[in-house]
Symmetry: C2
Subunit: 233 residues, 2 copies
DNA sequence: CTCTCTTGAATAAGTCGTACGTAATGGGTT
DNA sequence: AACCCATTACGTACGACTTATTCAAGAGAG
C-alpha cells in the first residue's frame, strides 16, 4: 500500500500543490490558513510552512488582511521539480509534456556537443553501454528495460556536458521519456532509426566529434517532437 | 535608503540563502534551528519557515536528531530564481555566468526559430522597436539605455516563442546581460556586428523565416560566449 | 447633494513562547 | 555482536499578541 505519510506537512503540500497546478483553485482564488488548517485537521503552524513553500514556488502569494492568493500561471516557477511532476500528473499533462519536449530539443543537442568535448572515459563507457542496452532491448516488448537504458543514456549525456544547468534537466528528460512510454501503445517496439542514432551519438562523443554528436542528437529530438505530435491533443 | 525590512522571514532568508550558495556553509555543515533563532534574534517559528523554503530549493535537508544539513551543489535547484540571483551576487559568479550563458546559447536560437512562427504583430513591432533602440543607443556610452533595449528584445523573443519554459528564462537572460554590462569596461560601445544581428533577427521573425532567425540568434549567442571568455577566469 | 479625504474598526496574516511528541543517534549493558 | 535506553533536535500543536491592509462610515469641502 502506498503510504506517503511522511508527516502532516508533506500530506498538505501534496494535496494543495497538485490542486493548484491542476487549476482546481484558479488564479485569484484566496485561501485562508485557518480554513486550510481546519480542512486538513492540522495546526496553523503546518499550514503556514506549506504556504511558505508554495510561495517559494510562486504558486501563491500571501498578503495580510487578504489571505493566500493563487498566482497566475506566468508567475509559477515552472522549473521546480515538484511543480513539473504535479503538472505532469494533472490536467494539462499534454501541454507540459509538449513544452518539456521543446526544451529538450533545445538543450540536448548542445549538451551532446559539449559532452563530446568534456566526457571522461567512464562516461563514454557508460554511454556505449546504455546504447548497447537499448539495442538489446529494442525488440520483443521489453519497453521497460529499454526505458531504463534510454533515460540513463540521456542523463549521462547531460551530466557529461559539464554544465550544471544541463545536468539538472536529467530528471526532466527522464520524466518525459517515462511519460512517453507510459502513454505509448505498449506493444510497439521503439523506432530502430532512433536506436541507431543513440549508438552513433555514443560513438561521436567517444571520438570527440562535437558537431556530429550535436547533429545526431538534434535528429533524436526531432524524432521525439514528431512522435509527440502523434499522441498529443 | 535601502530598507529591505520586509519582516524577519525575508531578513533571515536573505542572510542564509546567499551564505549557503556562496559556500560559507560547505555541504555537510549542520545548522541548528535553535542557534539560528538566537543568532538572528527571531523565534524558532520564523527559522523553521525559512528552513522549509531552503529545503524546497534543495539547499538543505532537515532531519530529526541531527539538524539542518547543507546539501551538495548537485542537489540544488539551480533554476530557482532566488538561487540564481544569490549565486550571481556571490563568490562563484563567474561560473554561474558561464553556465547561464551556455544555457542561453542552447535555448535562445530555438526560441527565436519558434518566435518566427508564433510571434503576433505586436511582438514583431516590439522586436523591431527594441532593435532600433539598440541601434540608436549603440554609440556614445549609452550602455544603460542600450541594456534596456537589449534585455527587452531577448525577453520578447523568449515569450514570443510560445513556450512557457523558454519564457521563464527571460529573467535569467536579463541577469546575464545586466551582469555583462556591469562588469564590462564602461567606455566601450557594444559590438556593431551584434547590433546588426539583432536587427536582422527582428526582421527574420517578422517575415517568418524560422531557420534564419535561429541561425542569426545562434551567432549572437556565439558572440556572447566569446565575449565571456575575454572577461571571465 | 456629490465627491473626496480622513478616521477607525474589522480582519487575517505575521510573530512569539511554550509545551509536548517523535524519530534518529550513540553509548552502555548483556 | 546484538540489544536497550537515554539523549537530542526537529516536528507539531496551541494560545496570545502584533501589525499591515482593507473597507466603510463619517466629516468636510466644493
Amino acid at each position: 500500500m502506498e503510504n506517503q505519510g511522511q508527516g502532516p506537512h508533506t500530506r498538505v503540500l501534496e494535496a494543495l500543490g497538485p490542486a493548484i497546478t491542476a487549476g482546481d483553485h484558479p488564479p485569484g482564488t484566496v485561501l485562508r490558513t485557518e480554513e486550510l488548517a481546519a480542512e486538513f485537521d492540522v495546526s496553523r503552524t503546518v499550514v503556514r510552512e506549506v504556504i511558505r513553500v508554495l510561495e517559494s514556488m510562486r504558486l501563491v502569494t500571501s498578503r495580510r488582511r487578504v489571505g493566500v492568493t493563487v498566482l497566475p500561471t506566468e508567475e509559477w516557477n515552472v522549473y521546480d521539480p515538484r511543480v513539473i511532476s504535479w503538472r505532469l500528473a494533472g490536467r494539462d499533462r499534454p501541454r507540459q509534456l509538449r513544452s518539456l519536449t521543446v526544451l529538450r530539443s533545445a538543450v540536448e543537442p548542445v549538451a551532446a556537443g559539449l559532452a563530446a568535448v568534456h566526457a571522461d572515459p567512464a562516461q563514454c563507457a557508460a554511454l556505449t553501454e546504455h546504447a548497447m542496452g537499448m539495442v538489446a532491448t529494442s525488440r520483443g516488448q521489453q519497453l521497460d528495460a529499454y526505458l531504463v537504458h534510454d533515460t540513463a543514456f540521456h542523463r549521462v549525456v547531460l551530466t557529461a556536458s559539464g554544465n550544471e544547468m544541463f545536468a539538472r534537466l536529467g530528471d526532466v528528460v527522464a520524466a518525459v521519456l517515462t511519460g512517453r512510454t507510459a502513454h505509448h501503445v505498449m506493444f510497439t517496439d521503439p523506432d530502430p532509426a532512433a536506436v541507431s542514432l543513440h549508438v552513433q551519438v555514443a560513438e561521436a562523443v567517444r571520438v570527440g566529434d562535437a558537431a556530429r554528436a550535436e547533429e545526431l542528437t538534434r535528429q533524436i529530438t526531432v524524432g521525439a517532437m514528431a512522435e509527440l505530435d502523434v499522441l498529443a491533443p
